[in-house]
């Protein structure tokens, strides 16, 4: 097979050989999206094509803009939590957590240990679900149906666990300011261990059919590469940056909750192409499973205990007493109608979400209504250098690159 048949646009432009040189045909503009079957997420690509090579790419986001920040700035602090569910709808707990950690930072609260372990467990379940969706959907969009089904089955199992833990599969509304909604149910550890074993088995099958598959490798290897200095300058975080060889992980660098006590590794790639991104995501899933097991162990060792701080500013009075005690009833009225009064100030909290660093910048003026709830969306910043990753590549490379950039409309457009 003649190698020069596959010269990219960039190489053809600069080639000396007359045969290879571009014919200078007109460039073609192609609209892809906003709703394209091969992209999971509503986003529009305006692609300038020379034959099949991408010359320029304009990404238009915002199709899912719902005014998250405006909505949060018009309610009280605790009413924002259900909205954070809807940021990244694959990993709602992580967004719940990021927001609540920010408010707790403003209030200066320290949550009980049992609550922290449950939060860690919840966020790892979320990360697992997110990575499974990403890898599964990527396979589907590259026309591999079987691994997609294994991935989705494993995700269903994680969502079963999420349901048992939080009461909902997707929109969890689980983390509260100063705690979690309720303790984990009895029998959860057994269910969890059982499901983890099944997820491991499915991941093995997933790996068997796809990782060493030549068709998959041909589509993934060497596509969407961008060097790490450029990625850092663009503010890219998460698996994308780790695939390029930078072991940046908020869980390790600025450990929050109990991550400092946990034993897990940070997978990194070397080249930073889509294949590395895929491998990093798969490895992260195994690490997440390990973390969940450790959390279960610790929770069982810890025994029962409070999962909420006993701070009347944020904690609604115990329900059992509200029903027949006047004082608690009045407290309940006050807590619901006013909401927590958060001291004036500003705080920026970070968590490592499945897509990268998820930050919440919160500003309060001392009243019950936030002045500013800013979500730092990893999806948006990860999507931004995509034109640079793809310039000179083929049109078909958009699909795997977009899959592993994993732009989640809800989080990107807020």
């Amino acid at each position: 097979m003649a190698e020069d048949q596959w010269l990219t646009y960039r190489e053809r432009e600069t080639s000396d050989d007359d045969f290879d040189r571009d014919l200078h045909t007109e460039h073609q503009i192609l609209n892809m999206g906003p709703s394209h079957p091969a992209t999971h997420g509503t986003v529009k690509f305006l692609i300038e094509l020379d034959g099949e090579s991408i010359v320029d790419l304009d990404i238009q986001v915002g199709y899912l803009h719902r005014g998250f920040e405006k909505e949060c700035e018009s309610g009280s602090w605790y009413q924002c939590i259900p909205y954070t569910d809807r940021l990244n709808y694959n990993s709602a707990i992580l967004a719940n957590l990021g927001f609540c950690l920010g408010v707790e930072k403003l209030l200066g609260l320290e949550t009980p240990e049992r609550c922290q372990w449950q939060r860690v467990m919840g966020s790892e379940l979320s990360r697992l679900a997110d990575h499974l969706t990403r890898c599964g959907a990527a396979c589907l969009e590259l026309a591999a149906m079987t691994p997609f089904l294994y991935g989705i089955q494993a995700r269903e199992l994680t969502w079963d666990l999420t349901e048992a833990l939080c009461g909902a599969r997707v929109t969890t509304n689980y983390i509260r300011i100063g705690g979690v909604k309720h303790d984990m149910p009895a029998g959860f550890p057994e269910q969890c261990r059982d499901h983890i074993a099944r997820i491991r088995e499915l991941l093995k099958d997933f790996d068997a059919v796809i990782t060493a598959n030549r068709i998959f490798i041909d589509r993934m290897r060497g596509t969407g590469v961008l060097d790490k200095e450029r990625l850092i300058a663009f503010g890219v975080t998460g698996p994308l940056l780790r695939a390029a060889g930078v072991p940046l992980d908020v869980r390790k660098d600025e450990p929050y909750l109990t991550y400092a006590e946990l034993d897990f590794d940070v997978p990194v790639g070397e080249v930073g192409d889509n294949y590395d991104r895929y491998l990093v995501c798969v490895e992260e899933m195994h690490q997440s499973l390990r973390i969940i097991e450790q959390c279960l162990e610790r929770l069982e060792k810890l025994g029962p205990g409070p999962v909420n701080v006993l701070d009347p500013r944020v904690r609604w009075p115990a329900k059992g007493r509200v029903f027949n005690h006047m004082e608690e009833l009045i407290q309940q009225f006050k807590a619901v109608t006013e909401g927590p009064m958060v001291p004036a100030g500003e705080a920026y909290s970070v968590v490592e979400s499945a897509n990268g660093e998820l930050g919440f910048y919160l500003v309060s003026d001392g009243s019950a209504v936030p002045v500013k709830v800013r979500c730092r969306p990893p999806s948006l910043l990860n999507l931004q250098p995509m034109p640079e990753m793809l310039k000179g590549c083929l049109l078909a490379d958009i699909i795997p690159t977009f899959d592993f950039v994993n732009m989640i409309g809800g989080e990107c457009d807020r």
Partner: protein, 164 residues
């Protein structure tokens, strides 16, 4: 001015002390308020100085202090992170309502591009030197800037696009 134990803040105060109008470290987040005219210098310094080494702009956003009678009304907030030193810094710059412009940070961090477009879109703050200041999340025909506090939540926009 105090540096609150933050090495990066100390370096900034030493090198550009006259540009910094206030500092604080609430909840452990070191913050510097910088004069608007000196912002590009300060940002360049923070990126290039080996002690600061803020290679990454993690976030750029604006805050509207209308209800707090803020003077100036807007604040543009930069969150910086250094991978080498593993530290963070927040840089804030005040923007008065009658002159809503800030020098662009794109020459320092290309990642500021979309974030600045978003701030322009939602707050109507212009960034001088931005190559392509279009709306990011909303559509071109949208009137007003919805995250400003004087934009009512209930306000509706006319339908645009083809007749439906």
């Amino acid at each position: 001015m105090e540096d609150f134990g933050s090495a990066a803040l100390r370096r900034l105060l030493d090198a550009h002390g006259d540009a910094v109008t206030a500092t604080h470290a609430q909840h452990g987040d070191a913050t510097a308020v910088v004069e608007r005219a000196r912002l590009p210098d300060a940002l360049h310094f923070l990126r290039d100085d080996p002690e600061c080494a803020f290679q990454m702009l993690t976030d750029l956003c604006a805050v509207d202090h209308l209800e707090q009678d803020g003077n100036p009304r807007f604040e543009v907030v930069y969150h910086l992170y250094s991978l080498e030193k593993n530290h963070r810094l927040r840089v804030k710059v005040g923007v008065p309502e009658d002159d809503c412009t800030v020098p662009s940070a794109i020459p320092v961090w290309p990642g500021a591009n979309w974030l600045e477009r978003e701030v322009w879109d939602l707050y109507g703050i212009r960034f001088d030197g931005h190559p392509d200041l279009r709306r990011l999340l909303l559509y071109e025909e949208f009137e007003g800037h919805p995250l400003r506090k004087d934009y009512a939540k209930e306000r509706r926009q006319p339908l645009v696009g083809p007749e439906n």
